[in-house]
Symmetry: C2
Subunit: 679 residues, 2 copies
């Protein structure tokens, strides 16, 4: 079979209908009461008994005949014979006759012959036929459990009506009453009702079982050893989709990941189909794997749909496999999650009996122009940042709306800026940097900066970050960020950070190295500190590397940073200094050229993006020296050869200097940097 | 020690401060990735590796040197020698030189010497040194895994720049980068990031362990046998508070319930204190139990506060017991839950590292006057119902607010009416009939009908009922209700139902028996049906009871319903008929009196509230005949002696006839009642 071309793409609506047509309900199960919270009742529960099951005293006091108190008041109390005591949890050993009362505890059974009770506060011990020793208002510490034929008298200083201070049997819940209806999602309050009815097991919808099969020879489960040289990567989809399934009310079942070998893949898919209500596969983008899935679905089930007009997520499959529903998700994690969220999660929720989620929606303005013209529905992951002073940003109870409904999300004052998050189709992590999704219709090919868009937050409890920072990656900065409440920091490097600050999106940019074009920005410098940089070499410095000279003159393998990095800029300056120095040393007219020196350094042109990655090449034995920070060398137990210090500066977006989170950052920076120069 | 009088009540603020001063943090634990969803990260996680770990092809196509494509286009393609194939999960077995390309799969490692790739769609198989058989665009089904020294040539019909269609090592996440900050509540998207980093175990805040000790001799765990005659009741607080603890992010530990015996209570409290971060007791209201708790807390810990100026919840204790925090909750379930929710849950959430909950707040109008003048903060449980046509009631995504934030709750259009829910202080189930809480300040002693109040929903996912019905309890009605989405029905009886309808609160009232004063209401009758009623007697009717005559003339024990019940009204009419009949029979001038006949029926004056409760007395052997429905007799396998039929009528609030849920009810009633008279 040849590569499927997805020529006839289904519309998103058709895809939803196809998935809805699959039955993924899980049936019924009975769960113990302690596990019932959040589960969905499948049938009505009627009360099988009265609550309370008996006429019950509501207070501590005296059970009596209301008739005997008629006309009584403070001045003219009724005096009744106390003929017994009833504690909670005891059968009354007394029957009252006219003129008699029984001491009674809150919750105790009203004795026969009594039709009301008087709280102890409205009584006094009488002077009647009292026995010696019963001088207190009532005998609290009586542990004998015996009923007293004569316990003195009580003075009742109020009149009561029949039923006063008594909760009659069934007054709380009456036998036969409808207690909870089918479809109830059980709350702690419902558990209270079920407890009162003595129900210790409830029939609930079984969570739909969703089997997850990630395919691809290159996948390794997290925790396993990765061979990057072989192109292995960690399996992102399995645990991520499992978590999504559980968020949607399903039960996730992870199957061992299937390589691209056909028999194995078929075996695992069919095993999952036999055990689950829905099978989700994902992970392999190789055509041969797709072919296996096609063949299995077509032979053992039915393919309802392949290819949907949506981006990301075009290569989606919907069908049946043996007795299970089947959806094939795209392999790229971002695509897989977006398709899962848009098309699959709603069906799982429905099968689980959960209501449509409260979709928290935030309206914001596009932070920049965004072009898109592919004629497919686009599910665009976006991040949010509050513009302006954002004073109310830390107030999670946003302004109440006229509709009377307000679930406070941390973006409620100031203008909300919306920026697309897109690290490319192969990125696994973009969604962790996004807050929600903007659906861009197929007819829209351009979103203009400032245009209003609706963002569906990933879930109602998403808290958009309080602070958005961009720029250089730095260990000191990381410690600062740890002290802030819910910041987001994108380590894009110094130059891209400055560029984004210029576009007005982030709150702050953190730049390394000599100051330069940021002056044009009129950005406000919040703080600065020095950091030591140099060469990172093997522990003990076995190659006896002392500085840049060694890299130029000896046959050593070096690892550089990318040109976006502030360290790279500092390195190039150091190299320029070396050129000067050597020019002076050689004392000839022919100046040593900067470029010339760089070409003598093996690996100078190979730049890595992350501040730690070069050092890790040294650990891996792939390089002798790496550009890096003293801090990194210490952290990774390597040797540090100093080349210089560079200034780290935190620059604030001029519109945001009064924003609460920016002020918080400023104050943390002030404390830490002043204290010891190292936070 | 004598009864504690709570003379110096603490303010609610002081109570919050006292609880906040207790440390209930649970420390750290490491959980596997699959259990990390929703947990709170306790420390920053930095990336320990680059993602991807290698330069990676983003598409299926050809890896090459960008330089070799410069100037190429559709018309003038570059022709390159294909010298190998790299699949995902394979180490490249080839190094490219100028003029060479390698076939490459999505996700595969870029071979050395290549700096860009071209997607297969922009290429054609060349005519160069191609081998026989390689006529397709590319060799999808090549399973040999061998690298081909010569695989023909490829025509590249586009030019690419270095880096095009390649994801460089670390471009997604760079080693050393801050991945997730402390305090992050882990979402499925974060699990994606952690997976990509190969992390299979994360350090999270341990959930605070909360021990729950219910005390009281009268308590029986749900599922156990209840002896109502002894005043036993099911333990409501244990499971309810446990569910509340788990909702708040804690781990609930239920201890066996402690009776009022002092040594046992002390032993269980101290055992809980040794094992938990916080101990919550509740359940016993007897003074001796309180004394034990006082003594234990004072001897083994510290009592910080007793008594809070709040209703319900006055008798709250706050202190320390051994090394644990301790809070004593009131015994009544409603009070216990209100105090738990207001004072304890926020501290558990904080210890669990969860953000303040998004408090969904609904603004509504008081449905009736409410007096309150005790000078304490009142936590008033309330229910909600939408007034007016409520057309948008079924739309759970209410109108977006200008603030940009909108968590759709089912009350978004029409006016929301707020009515207090209060079944008395001993009621265990009121909260299941409530949607949220109105805090009434100590200075407020009167809330006027129509006054605007803010209701804090019990949780953001509370869905206020779509339909509020009140009135007679009826098995047919229960089946109708099962077919509606999220109705609420309060079985208050026919007369109270009519009274409430007159007050304008419910959407519908269901009344039994002959029509009467409801005519004054101008209520709209939605539907009606007949139900059979009579006497319910033991299976097989061993006493040979044929009708009311037997109850009057023989020594039989009867159980009646309360005078609120429509059945009682029908019974009284039947008795009046019997009087007529007997008057005719005796043919004397002295008419038989109605009251006279009733006094001849043993138990006529003892009315039970629930429609099933009288029949259950027959099962229990406590009565020979009970007033009830044919339906009930059948359900409980008893014998039914017909006395008549009565009309059930569903009456709609005239303002609500167009409300969506009322129309839905009307249509379900129309279907069912017309079909077979029995739904």
């Amino acid at each position: 079979m040849n590569r499927k071309e997805f020529r006839d793409l289904a519309s998103p609506t058709e895809a939803r209908e196809a998935i809805n047509s699959l039955s993924i309900e899980g049936g019924v199960e009975r769960v113990p009461l302690e596990d019932a919270r959040g589960r969905v009742l499948i049938a009505r529960l009627d009360a099988e008994l009265d609550v309370p099951g008996f006429d019950r005293a509501s207070l501590d006091g005296y059970a009596l005949n209301a008739r005997d108190t008629f006309g009584s008041d403070e001045a003219d109390p009724a005096e009744l014979d106390v003929v017994g005591t009833v504690h909670a949890g005891e059968e009354p050993g007394v029957v009252l006759e006219s003129g008699q009362a029984a001491e009674i505890s809150t919750g105790a059974v009203m004795p026969d012959g009594a039709d009301a009770m008087v709280p102890v506060e409205r009584t006094d011990v009488g002077s009647g036929t009292g026995e010696a020793g019963t001088t207190g208002r009532h005998d609290e510490n009586d542990e004998s459990g015996e009923d007293h034929e004569s316990n003195g008298t009580v003075l009742v200083r109020t009149s009561v009506a029949p039923g006063d201070n008594v909760m009659f049997a069934g007054a709380d819940v009456a036998a036969g009453e409808r207690a909870l209806g089918p479809g109830t999602r059980i709350t702690p309050r419902d558990i209270g009702l079920l407890s009162a009815l003595g129900i210790d097991e409830v029939p609930v919808r079984r969570k739909p079982r969703v089997g997850i099969v990630s395919t691809g020879d290159e996948l390794v489960r997290p925790g396993g050893d990765l061979e990057s040289a072989r192109g292995e990567i960690y399996d992102v989809n399995s645990y991520t989709i499992a978590a999504g399934v559980e968020d949607a009310g399903g039960e996730a079942v992870l199957y061992p990941h299937a390589g691209d070998e056909q028999d194995e893949m078929e075996r695992i898919l069919r095993e999952a189909a036999a055990e689950c209500d829905l099978v989700l596969s994902s992970g392999s983008t190789s055509a041969s794997a797709v072919d296996v899935i096609y063949r299995v679905i077509e032979e053992q089930g039915e393919l309802l749909l392949h290819g949907v007009s949506v981006k990301p997520g075009k290569p989606m499959l919907v069908g049946r496999l043996d007795s299970s529903a089947y959806v094939g998700l795209p392999g790229y994690p971002v695509s897989a999650m977006m398709v899962f969220r848009t098309f699959v999660a709603p069906s799982i929720r429905e099968a689980a009996g959960l209501p449509e989620p409260e979709s928290a929606t935030v309206t914001g303005r596009m932070a920049r122009d965004e072009r898109y013209g592919e004629g497919r529905l686009r599910l665009m992951p976006v991040g949010l940042v509050t513009d302006g002073d954002g004073n109310s940003n830390s107030d999670s109870n946003g302004g109440g709306a006229d509709s009377g409904v307000d679930a406070g999300v941390g973006v409620s004052a100031g203008d909300t800026l919306v920026y697309p998050v897109d690290k490319g189709s192969g990125a696994t992590t973009s969604l962790a940097e996004a807050d929600g999704v903007v659906e861009v219709g197929p007819e829209t090919d351009y979103l203009e900066r400032g245009e209003s868009v609706d963002v569906q937050l990933f879930s109602p409890d998403v808290r958009p970050p309080t602070l958005l920072g961009v720029g250089e990656d730095d260990p000191t900065l990381n410690r600062v960020l740890d002290r802030l409440d819910n910041p987001r920091y994108l380590s894009v490097g110094s130059r891209p950070g400055l560029r984004r600050l210029r576009e007005g999106i982030p709150d702050v940019a953190v730049v390394a190295g000599p100051s330069g074009r940021e002056q044009e920005l009129e950005a406000t410098e919040l703080s600065s500190w020095e950091r030591d940089w140099g060469l990172i070499v093997r522990a003990g410095n076995p190659d006896e590397i002392d500085g840049l000279d060694d890299l130029v003159d000896r046959d050593l393998q070096f690892v550089n940073r990318t040109s976006d990095s502030g360290l790279r800029t500092s390195l190039e300056r150091a190299l320029a200094d070396l050129v000067e120095e050597r020019g002076a040393e050689t004392e000839t007219g022919a100046k040593t050229d900067h470029h010339d020196l760089a070409t003598h350094i093996n690996g100078f042109d190979v730049g890595l993006r992350a501040h730690e990655s070069p050092a890790r090449r040294v650990i891996a034995g792939e390089a002798d020296a790496a550009l890096g920070l003293r801090d990194t060398a210490e952290r990774l137990s390597l040797e540090y050869v100093p080349l210089g210090t560079q200034t780290m500066r935190v620059l604030a977006n001029p519109d945001r200097v009064e924003k609460a989170s920016v002020r918080e950052l400023e104050s943390v920076l002030a404390e830490g940097v002043v204290d010891d120069g190292r936070l």
